[in-house]
């Protein structure tokens, strides 16, 4: 049976939208914008404290975006926590999976550290590192570790708020000493970015793993091990 809305109206509408989008996009890339912000961004990379252009944009030129984005991540986790407690988790894994997880998790943590460090001059950075940490948590949860390797609720709360807190405090302190909000002094930029990124990595990793559990930690968490 043909449903007019679903089979005719929406597809025809979408094709029209697509045509318009395609046309605009064609005009936009063939237009005169040319370099866009590439030249000015690349020219300022040496002043940013890191040599990876994407990290310069994320943690320096547009650091304020990144601060708010960490807040979005925190809001999502707080929303998840407000909806109920985490489920009882998965069955403890059999020895093969458990052994594999025991081998992979340290490797993931090590790679996360590498990602965090390498982000200063090559592709990488806090988000990639945080994602690896989060993946380690997911792996632990899948293998039956009830809290995905996360610490007790009190410390977990500290971890998930750490990124926003360090970021915002750094910004405010720089403002108070007279440089301006999130305006890093030339020589300190590299270290300030590293501090912020480290805090952000821990927060992102903990938040992603906690979000995967799908609810706030149980009131009396057993120790991380489910065995």
């Amino acid at each position: 049976m043909i449903r007019p809305l679903e089979h005719i109206l929406i597809p025809v509408g979408l094709i029209a939208v697509g045509g318009l989008l395609g046309w605009s996009f064609f005009l936009a890339v063939t237009g005169e914008a040319g370099e866009r912000l590439a030249a000015v961004a690349l020219a300022h990379v040496p002043d940013s404290g890191v040599s990876n252009p994407v990290t310069s944009v994320l943690l320096n030129f547009r650091a304020y975006d990144t601060l708010l984005e960490l807040a979005v991540l925190l809001a999502a986790l707080l929303g998840i926590w407000s909806l109920g407690t985490a489920g009882s988790g998965f069955q403890p894994a059999a020895s093969v999976l458990d052994g594999m997880v025991a081998g992979f998790v340290p490797l993931l943590i090590l790679s996360a550290g590498y990602m965090l460090w390498v982000g200063a001059y090559a592709p990488g950075g806090a988000f990639q590192a945080g994602a690896l940490l989060g993946a380690a948590g997911v792996m632990l949860a899948l293998a039956g570790h009830r809290n995905a390797g996360l610490p007790s609720e009190g410390r977990l709360r500290l971890l998930v708020a750490l990124g926003v807190f360090v970021f915002a405090m750094t910004g405010l302190l720089l403002m108070v000493v007279g440089d301006g909000f999130l305006t890093y002094p030339r020589g300190l930029a590299k270290w300030l970015i590293l501090i912020i990124e480290t805090a952000a990595t821990l927060s992102i990793g903990a938040t992603l793993a906690a979000a995967y559990l799908g609810g706030r930690p149980a009131a009396h968490p057993k120790s991380g091990e489910a065995t």
């Binding site: 890339v29 866009r36 809001a75 999502a76 929303g79 988000f127």
Partner: protein, 94 residues
């Protein structure tokens, strides 16, 4: 801009537009939460595709880092939103 760069930008940007349309179609037509969420994420992938396409400036020129950073920010926002929506869905299933 050389023809080859333009060609790549149009090819990848055009694919991005197709992804946006597919996602939008699926979002409008399908009722289940999971399908709607996947649809939103496909749409998001399409928008990110377009941003990455305009960042490309040729094989031996550094790409524009600004859209790359925007995409990274956008991905984290999309992950957060998806996680929250899934928690809502889980709550409704209980």
């Amino acid at each position: 801009m050389t023809g080859q760069v333009l060609y790549a930008q149009l090819l990848y940007g055009g694919s991005g537009i197709v992804l946006v349309l597919l996602g939008l179609w699926s979002f409008l037509v399908h009722a289940p939460l999971l399908r709607k969420l996947i649809a939103i994420n496909v749409m998001g992938a399409g928008v990110f595709h377009i941003l990455v396409a305009i960042a490309y400036r040729g094989i031996d020129t550094a790409p524009d880092p600004v859209p790359h950073a925007l995409v990274l920010t956008g991905i984290v926002v999309a992950v957060s939103a998806t996680a929250l929506a899934l928690a809502f869905g889980k709550r409704l299933d209980q």
